[in-house]
């Protein structure tokens, strides 16, 4: 074999054929979608007033990417985005988690019960679940309660999946139904309101930016963890080839418990932000959050068959999500169309992912 030959036995390996990171594709998709909305927004008003879809009289407000709109875009995805960070890790490990929406509902109820203020406008708090002892507690207590609640739910998911060997779909479906029931049972269906000022600051602080800061902070943290720690490497390995991971001595069962526990903890954090932002908790909170979160990860290039994807991709996926919702409002389109288009985009993202992988396989 000559010195400059590539590969083994004369087989060549073309480094140039290496696909660019998938995140680049997602970023291009994001920019394309923004551009489409921008162009539509500029053109549509001049196309006559025959359209049933548009109400041109009210006009538009500037371009799609002004600061105020950007804030709305990121704000509305940051709460489900926190869940999507957990969903990304679960899906990379080859699993799925259907429970976070319900866990948000339950955790919001429980945490809010420990965040009650004693006096509302000088009158005793009418919505308190517990007596005087649970009034005006320092904010750290509801925060710890929320984290504990999310961690417990996630750990139950993980233990069920790892040690009873039932499919993640079933285990987390069970948690989804059970947690929703528990959320309703907690206050017999009554909403809980009137938290302390400190608790309200979690979701409303930094002139309203705090959910975004929490979301981005967590995204950066977990992106680095997935990329640079043993935990991340093992998460990818398990999703990529569980048997190989087991044979390599990775404690697969223990690792799965950890992955689902982290996902549960992030659901708990999301519950903190959403209940604090709205200054109230209801049993119906978080419905469909898990599906939005899964959609964000899939749009962001995380493969549902495991082993592939990143938090960065998910964040971009979340932004695509936000831009679409916001863009429809910008074009004054009915909310019904949003959901319909959202569904189409989720399916299109998975089809694209399949197609890309088939192409990569035939090129290899």
């Amino acid at each position: 074999m000559s010195e400059n030959s590539h590969g083994i036995g004369g087989l060549t390996f073309d480094a140039k054929k290496r696909a660019w990171p998938n995140e680049v594709n997602v970023l291009i998709a994001l920019l394309a979608i923004i551009a489409i909305f921008e162009i539509l927004g500029q053109l549509l008003p001049y196309m006559g007033n025959q359209s049933l879809l548009f109400d041109f009289d009210t006009g538009r407000d500037g371009t799609i990417l002004n600061m105020a709109r950007l804030k709305i875009i990121i704000l509305q995805v940051s709460i489900t985005g926190i869940i999507a960070i957990g969903a990304t890790q679960v899906i990379i490990s080859g699993g799925i988690d259907l429970s976070p929406g319900s866990v948000v509902g339950l955790t919001a109820m429980v945490a809010m019960s420990f965040a009650q203020t004693a006096l509302v406008n000088g009158n005793p708090n009418p919505k308190a679940v517990f007596g005087d002892w649970a009034m005006d507690l320092p904010v750290i207590i509801p925060v710890m309660v929320a984290l504990g609640c999310g961690i417990a739910a996630g750990m139950i998911n993980g233990l069920l999946i790892a040690y009873t060997r039932i499919p993640p779909f079933i285990a987390t479906l069970g948690m989804m139904v059970t947690a929703r029931g528990a959320a309703k049972w907690w206050s017999k269906g009554q909403p809980i309101s009137f938290p302390t000022e400190d608790f309200g600051a979690i979701g409303n602080g930094m002139s309203g930016w705090s959910p975004v800061v929490i979301f981005i902070g967590l995204a950066v943290l977990f992106h680095l963890i997935l990329r640079f720690t043993v935990y991340g490497k093992h998460t990818y390995a398990i999703g990529s080839n569980e048997d190989a991971a087991r044979m390599s001595g990775i404690k697969v069962d223990r690792h799965k418990v950890l992955v689902y526990t982290i996902a549960g903890m992030l659901a708990g954090l999301s519950a903190l932000v959403v209940s604090s932002k709205g200054l109230t908790a209801q049993a119906g909170m978080g419905v469909m959050y898990e599906l939005d979160a899964i959609a964000m990860t899939v749009i962001g290039g995380v493969s549902l068959s495991g082993g592939r994807g990143s938090i960065l991709g998910t964040v971009l996926g979340a932004l695509i999500f936000g831009v679409i919702i916001s863009g429809f409002t910008y074009l004054k389109l009915d909310a019904y169309y949003q959901e319909m288009v959202k569904g189409v985009i989720i399916v299109a993202a998975v089809v694209l992912d399949q197609w890309r992988r088939q192409r990569a396989a035939t090129n290899a």
């Binding site: 083994i8 640079f228 990529s240 001595g249």
Partner: protein, 256 residues
């Protein structure tokens, strides 16, 4: 220390009523390359599974590097220095070469439980060393396994043994799924191991390969060892006679 690296005494495995392996007495010396041959179901893989801790033996003793050993799982065996290239390669397709080489025993820069920081640089360097040592050429070690040919994948799996300075390498039909050129490459790597003095147990159906690469051939038949042949004293015809049952060496005859 004696020069025997692995010895089994009366190694036996029963699956319920099926006697898959019966009283195997086997020795392997340092630097020696031994082939295990036999028909399908003769007990070759069962034998290897007992040594590597994939299964627990019914009876018998395994002495590795002078010590009686009892491996609970493949990781125990690996930590003791027995590296196995499994038939199903045990590679994670979406990870790159260093990731796969160090899977389950990553090098750590900063210890923090499950969140320990990986030392990518050291792992890359040691990967390059291992590839050089085994003579494996993979131009881009940061490419993922899914983009590699069958031969390259096999080479990555074999390179794992070199990375961890194992005391014994076991290969289970490493070239069964490969083309002619790729097979030649894998055989070259095995020769490099021989030159480096690394002992090897090779399970293979390929008579030419076995005659080329190994010093000794141990033949299994119906769960028992039926022959232990030095390469110089035998030929393909002879080995086939032992495999098919036409011949049995006198010292093993009473068991048959």
């Amino acid at each position: 220390m004696s020069d025997v690296i692995l010895e089994t005494r009366d190694l036996t495995k029963h699956y319920g009523g099926v006697h898959a392996l019966q009283g195997a007495n086997f020795t392997l010396r340092r630097g020696e390359h031994v082939a295990i041959m036999g028909d399908n179901g003769a007990g070759k893989s069962t034998f290897v599974r007992q040594i590597t801790g994939v299964e627990q033996r019914t009876r018998g003793e395994i002495i590795f590097a002078g010590q009686p050993v009892h491996f609970e799982n493949p990781m125990d065996a690996r930590n003791a220095g027995i590296e196995t290239v499994f038939q199903t390669l045990a590679l994670a397709d979406q990870l790159d070469v260093p990731d796969n080489l160090f899977l389950g025993r990553e090098l750590i820069k900063f210890k923090l439980g499950p969140f320990s920081i990986l030392d990518y640089k050291a792992m890359r360097e040691r990967t390059l060393d291992a590839l050089q040592k085994t003579g494996v050429k993979i131009p881009n070690i940061r490419g993922t396994i899914e983009r590699m040919s069958g031969g390259q994948r096999q080479c990555v799996a074999i390179a794992r043994t070199a990375t961890f300075h194992s005391k014994l390498t076991i290969m289970d039909e490493p070239t069964a799924a490969l083309g002619v050129q790729e097979t030649a490459q894998v055989e070259n790597i095995i020769r490099n191991l021989k030159e480096a003095g690394e002992p090897l147990i090779l399970i293979s159906h390929n008579m030419r390969q076995v005659m080329d690469l190994c010093d000794r051939i141990v033949v299994f038949r119906r769960g028992r060892i039926c022959a232990n042949l030095r390469k110089e004293e035998t030929d393909g015809q002879d080995v086939v006679a032992y495999i098919t049952g036409a011949k049995t060496q006198p010292e093993y005859a009473d068991a048959m």
